[in-house]
């Protein structure tokens, strides 16, 4: 078989799930070829009974969409200056996680013990973990060693007590992220951050003479140093420009940003328990929020996304920090009005699916809806919780038909055919499926990493990006037709940029 045939064949394979009649014909040719070639494929079913008409209900969907959850922890930890990681796991896992860490997180060497059947059977996991931690701590300037305990080590049993608290002055933290128990990439970020916060954040709740904790109240006398009491730490990965615009808005209100977690600076984790408020930007920082709340820090949830979101978030920060209400109202209203003006000048139109695995899809979808887009379908890798409720209710009140948690690829692909969107922000397999249908598709994770999102500045950047993506439909249609021979029946009305 020559290369071209091979290419054609692979193109044919990719279209297998679509519904076009000509695809089925191509596949019939394929079946005949198989039968001529050998009996190695025993199936007697014909292609006419193919699964194209089988609707995909959740119980038929098999493929959860998330990066390996453990990578969420690695990404957070390896990016901190002075943190070295020791990974306790089998070689296949180690290879994959090292690969993605070196590519996306940090150019840092990663230490590990060799863990095969022999070591696991001999019960050497703790000893192996200690040896890897010692190796990791040898790197000059190491302040903290993060021991990552993954599926195999967790199954074998590795506990905090088995590791030294310190090696050569460097703290040792056990971060437990077996992928069978932590179900998504964002939740593993929470595991890593909360492990650090637990290490560095002593509970601030005072005890009475009997040693009983006094009830937590935000009105208790403020004994914190003055410089931190008017400061906010944002909790959640953001585009690098976002903290700058947020800080500028906070300064106008009489406050400022102390740090953004996850941070490259270990000290930022140490002050998290002492600031005036924590802004938990994303809904999945459940453990981190619990740790900080126990330390007595007020929590503001939600993010400054879009007109309503920015207004509400700034007001929330003002309340938590007890800032001058008039000043806060002025700044918040100014941001809201700027957002509205931007939307009025450049509204979005078109149908967009937001289907990433980052855990902050609902907020992103809100922005698109506010800007004028239809978003009938939103899906995410995290589970429904108290922290997702507000965004889900808002979306459902503004035309979103389905919000899917712990989503599977099959559900997302079925939604493509159900709603026929003009743009898909998805995982890599889903974006590929959209492009195979001639629909512009982008990897949601990439989208987040190229534009700011917060306040009016972020809104402007994001709307610009989405408008541009919507305008590219003709290119996607041309590519589809060239590589698959299938034409896209409907030219989307948003197409303002053509190939000529």
């Amino acid at each position: 078989m020559n290369d071209l045939q091979c290419l054609l064949r692979k193109a044919t394979r990719r279209t297998e799930n679509s519904v076009e009649v000509d695809v089925v014909e191509i596949e019939i040719v394929e079946v005949e070829t198989e039968e001529v070639m050998s009996e190695a494929t025993p199936s007697t079913e014909t292609r006419t009974a193919a699964p194209h008409d089988v609707s995909v209900s959740p119980d038929q969907a098999l493929t959860p969409q998330t990066m390996c959850p453990a990578f969420g922890s690695l990404r957070v930890l390896t990016r901190i200056d002075g943190v070295q990681t020791a990974m306790v796991t089998d070689t296949g896992c180690l290879y994959g996680l090292t690969f993605v860490t070196h590519f996306y997180a940090a150019r840092k060497s990663i230490a590990a013990p060799a863990l095969g059947t022999q070591e696991l059977m001999a019960g050497n996991v703790a000893e192996a973990a200690r040896a890897a931690c010692e190796e990791a701590a040898r790197t000059p300037g190491t302040k903290l060693v993060a021991a990552l305990s993954l599926c195999v080590a967790e199954t074998a049993g590795l506990t905090e007590e088995m590791l030294p608290a310190q090696i050569n002055g460097a703290e040792v933290v056990l971060v437990r992220v077996p992928a069978y128990a932590i179900h998504s990439h964002p939740e593993a970020k929470d595991v890593a951050i909360s492990a650090l916060l637990k290490k560095f954040t002593a509970p601030a709740r005072p005890t009475d003479a009997q040693g009983v904790e006094t009830p937590l109240t935000y009105d208790q006398p403020d004994t914190q140093p003055e410089d931190l009491s008017r400061k906010v730490i944002m909790l959640g990965e953001v585009f690098p420009a976002d903290p700058i615009t947020v800080d500028a808005a906070l300064k106008k209100m009489g406050a400022s940003l102390a740090a953004n977690l996850p941070s490259r600076n270990l000290d930022d984790y140490k002050i998290a328990g002492k600031v005036g408020a924590i802004a938990a930007l994303h809904p999945f920082y459940v453990q981190s929020v619990a740790t900080l709340r126990a330390a007595g820090v007020p929590i503001v949830s939600g993010a400054p996304i879009g007109a309503e979101g920015s207004y509400g978030w700034l007001k929330g920060i003002g309340n938590a920090l007890k800032l001058d209400p008039e000043r806060v109202e002025a700044v918040a209203a100014e941001e809201r009005d700027k957002c509205r003006a931007l939307i009025a000048a450049n509204p979005l139109s078109g149908r967009i699916h937001v289907c990433g695995y980052e855990g902050n899809e609902l907020g992103y979808a809100r922005l698109l809806v506010e800007a004028g887009a239809q978003v009938p379908y939103v899906s995410t890798s995290i589970d429904k919780s108290l922290y997702t409720a507000a965004d889900e209710a808002w979306l459902k009140a503004h035309g979103t038909i389905e919000v899917v948690y712990r989503k599977k690829l099959e559900q997302d692909i079925a939604a493509l055919d159900r709603y026929q969107p003009d743009l898909v922000l998805g995982t890599t397999p889903l974006s590929a499926a959209a492009k195979e249908r001639g629909i512009p598709g982008l990897y949601y994770t990439n989208m987040l990493s190229v534009r700011p999102l917060f306040l009016s500045a972020g809104l402007a950047g994001t709307i610009g990006l989405i408008r541009d993506a919507l305008s590219r439909a003709p290119r996607y249609q041309w590519m589809r037709e060239f590589f698959t021979g299938e034409t896209t029946a409907v030219i989307t009305p948003q197409a303002i940029n053509t190939m000529d």
Binding site: M1, G96, T98, R107
Partner: protein
């Protein structure tokens, strides 16, 4: 060649840095999933599925994802209580309906092996039976794993039919690439060109561009070419026909073509092809050898960390044939006495040859050492790199020319970067201090020897300018401190100041 081995730690725990070789599970998926009429169900937590099927092949093979792979998705309840049979059964039932023309194979993972999830028995009782492949993920590396997976395919899907097939006189199979093989498309393209040039017809390129149903046809070829020393030889031996390994460099490629000619009875055609290649494909090598570029070869130092075939092939071609100096070379799978990554890292931190062929690991170690005068050339996974163009082979005559072309162009880059420049930015880099007139400062012999030994660690091409710069710096230092004679101590102090 300098070798060293990292001593194992006292506790006999073997330590790993930046693992470069993955497991038998990855090998199985990457081998079986090349065949589009196969669908693999991996008995895996979500992470093992995502890394092997999407996150890594996005960047090793430049594909959106492997679309004939589905996970059982084991969760905590499967690991601790239920076992994974139910999850596997559900996946089998659904995938079977969705893809009736694909042959299912269930593959174990490290975690499923850890909890002893052996499904062979019940899967064999299904109608039709589903084969179970125990990937030995806790013991076997990716090379042994691929070798065994290829043999398993032959024994289960080929041997029964294939043993009755009479070989076709001039047909040649190419046994080798799977997903995750560095540079495979270009190398396959070149080796096919060589086979056809020698008078052969291409049979199967297995499993890279074949179907499972083709497997019996492996027996149709009278000769097999094994792409890699690392794996594939097992299948070639089982097929019972003569086999040769794909070649590197001019001499080995010439021998390869001649040997094929003898095996196929096409000696004259093979000789004519070699003569024609000398005047076409290989002419640039002859020209560069005769030109000024060839003069650099004897002083060019290089190091290799790569798959066994690449490591040995590059040493034979660049070292033995062209006369460049191998500083170290270490292949994968690693052999006793070869440098592991801990040793490679230690070496590269101390000394950096002009060229390093390797994976992202070596690139990181060079970056850690601040090596600016070393050219890194990707030659192995792990590491994100697109190697899908057909014109970038390392193997064969085309590969010989391509490698030398790459190296010479990087020499040119070095020359460009060392030439003086006047920047248009007034605040641009300050130019090096102007040398004091020669002879104003005297040097002791020992001081000269100290400078020479320091320069030994700098790649040869950069040494001339480094020598000039360092002499200038040391003499300027001496003059500033009113030192009339440069001693080794003065060199030492000046170098310390320079590196600070």
């Amino acid at each position: 060649m300098e070798h060293s081995q990292t001593p194992s730690s006292p506790s006999q725990i073997q330590l790993i840095r930046d693992l470069d070789t993955t497991s038998g599970y990855w090998a199985a998926v990457w081998t079986f999933c090349c065949l589009p009429d196969v669908h693999v169900i991996c008995d895996a937590p979500i992470g093992c599925f995502n890394l092997v099927g999407t996150a890594v092949p996005d960047y090793t093979d430049a594909i959106p994802h492997i679309d004939n792979l589905t996970p059982s998705v084991m969760r905590e309840q499967e690991v601790t209580m239920l076992g994974t049979a139910g999850a596997v059964r559900r996946a089998v039932e659904i995938v079977r309906v969705q893809h009736p023309n694909r042959r299912l194979i269930v593959v174990s993972t490290a975690e499923s092996e850890m909890i002893s999830s052996d499904h062979a028995d019940w899967l064999s009782k299904l109608e039709p039976p589903v084969p179970f492949y125990w990937s030995r993920s806790l013991e076997e590396d990716e090379w042994a794993g691929r070798d065994r997976a290829l043999l398993w395919l032959w024994h289960n899907f080929g041997a029964r039919h294939g043993n009755t097939v009479a070989p076709s006189a001039k047909q040649v199979n190419l046994i080798g690439p799977t997903y995750g093989c560095f540079n495979a498309p270009a190398d396959v393209h070149e080796v096919k060109r060589l086979i056809e040039g020698a008078g052969g017809h291409i049979g199967l390129v297995y499993p890279f561009a074949a179907r499972l149903s083709d497997t019996p046809r492996l027996a149709e070829s009278s000769v097999n070419v094994v792409m890699y020393r690392e794996f594939g030889e097992g299948l070639a031996q089982a097929l019972g026909r003569p086999y040769v390994f794909a070649p590197f460099g001019v001499r080995e490629t010439t021998d390869f073509i001649r040997k094929l000619g003898r095996l196929l009875g096409t000696e004259d055609q093979a000789e004519a092809f070699i003569e024609q290649e000398k005047r076409t494909t290989l002419q640039p090598l002859w020209d560069l050898w005769r030109g000024p570029q060839g003069d650099w070869f004897p002083t060019t130092e290089f190091a290799v960390v790569a798959g066994r075939s690449y490591a040995e092939g590059l040493v034979r071609f660049l070292g033995d044939e062209l006369g460049m100096r191998p500083v170290f070379a270490t292949g994968r799978p690693i052999r006793p006495g070869e440098m592991d990554n801990l040793a490679v890292r230690e070496f590269l931190h101390k000394r950096q040859p002009g060229f390093v062929f390797g994976s992202i690991n070596e690139k990181i170690y060079l970056a850690e050492a601040g090596a600016r005068a070393t050219h890194f050339i990707p030659a192995a996974f792990p590491g994100p790199i697109v190697r899908r163009a057909l014109g970038t082979p390392f193997m064969g005559y085309s590969g010989a020319v391509y490698i030398v072309q790459e190296m010479v162009n990087r020499f040119y880059e070095s020359v460009f970067n060392f030439l003086p420049i006047d920047t248009i930015q007034p605040t641009g880099p300050v130019s090096a201090p102007v040398a004091p007139p020669a002879g104003r400062v005297a040097w002791t012999d020992a001081a000269r020897a100290r400078l020479d030994s320091y320069l030994e660690n700098i790649p040869w091409l950069s040494r001339i300018s480094a020598s000039r710069d360092l002499r200038t710096q040391i003499e300027a230092y001496a003059l500033r401190h009113h030192i009339a004679e440069v001693t080794p101590e003065v060199v030492e102090s000046a170098l310390q100041r320079a590196s600070a």
